[in-house]
Symmetry: C2
Subunit: 206 residues, 2 copies
């Protein structure tokens, strides 16, 4: 089984929860965007200083959980996903109620400086090979944000005639943010659709 | 087959494309949110003046297309989904490359006044019974925006320490919008997760 069997397409970014093993042998979980590079290869960008990046640097492997359970996303972000959510697989942990999971074995790992709107920061780029892919549901669909961005963009587009002032400013800001996200996480058909939305939106340019 | 077979859960709102028959016999398509009320019953809220509401009032039936093709959402919103996208089913039209579709037969239809941030408007509330449900893919998953809202909310939450001024104002506005959407379209587990996000977010209250 490869990433195609869990609905992952080359070039798209999926919202997952990554589980790693802490120094003391306990489990850690964090929401991470995973880019599908090939049917058995992924890339992740990790922020400096997190437990996830420390654990991956030490262990050279991690688990990617494909799931849609909202509470798992919330609790792993807030840092308190209880230990009883986890299950062991070989030397790793995965999340019990996940739709699918696989082990990611680090091929290369590189710290790079990146500049964004929040300033300059160091990001660790990890390339990894997929092994031990397990599905716990027959059909798995990973979370990709592109279609939601398209739909939200269309909502703003159709409301532009109704807004002004602060609200209009907000819509313009959201639209550029949506365009950025869709181009980051989507496939060619999403990018095409976004281009058409942006073009229709530009008729509201002053 | 009923709505359960295409992944619809009672109480959730799904993003679909509704196709109707115009007065002159041609096809019309528009993106519409469909609330699953029961395994064979839906409710939709339609804005006054659209071709969709006129066609439904005249024909007493419409087709709900379950799909994720971004261009179909874009072109049906911009009003120019070409006729070659449509296919006939009995007296109705559906969209050729849809993952699934069904006929919705109107049970009741009511014009109600509604007030929102854009002012007072008339909305037509349509309750309809499902028939002729057809799947063109083995596994169908309809688009529900709740998990996307949860993930976006978590992004804002983790960035609140980094923002100030206009950006902070924007994040606060988006967070209340996200909470509104998740509570409108999601199920109990989404609403619970959102409650936890809002509670963590409230520590940034001034």
């Amino acid at each position: 089984m490869d990433l195609v069997s869990i609905g992952m397409e080359k070039g798209l970014l999926y919202e997952t929860v990554v589980t790693t093993v802490n120094d003391d042998g306990t489990s850690n979980a964090a929401p991470i965007g995973v880019i599908c590079k090939d049917k058995d290869e992924i890339v992740v960008y990790l922020h400096q200083g997190s437990s996830t990046v420390k654990n991956i640097k030490r262990n050279n492997s991690f688990v990617v959980n494909i799931l849609k359970d909202p509470m798992v996303f919330v609790e792993s972000t807030l840092g308190d996903l209880p230990q009883n959510y986890f299950e062991s697989h070989k030397n790793e942990f995965y999340i019990k109620n996940t739709d699918a999971y696989f082990i990611a074995n680090v091929i290369s790992l590189k710290d790079v400086e990146r500049e964004d709107k929040f300033g300059v920061s160091v990001v660790t780029v990890v390339r990894a090979k997929v092994s031990d892919l397990i599905k716990t549901k027959e059909h798995v669909e990973p979370v990709n944000r592109a279609i939601y961005g398209i739909i939200e963009g269309l909502v703003y587009l159709t409301r532009m005639d109704m807004v002004s002032g602060d609200m209009e400013k907000l819509y313009r800001h959201r639209m550029s943010e949506i365009s950025r996200i869709v181009n980051k996480v989507g496939g060619p058909e999403h990018k095409n659709a976004m281009k058409k939305i942006s073009s229709a939106f530009s008729k509201y340019d002053k």
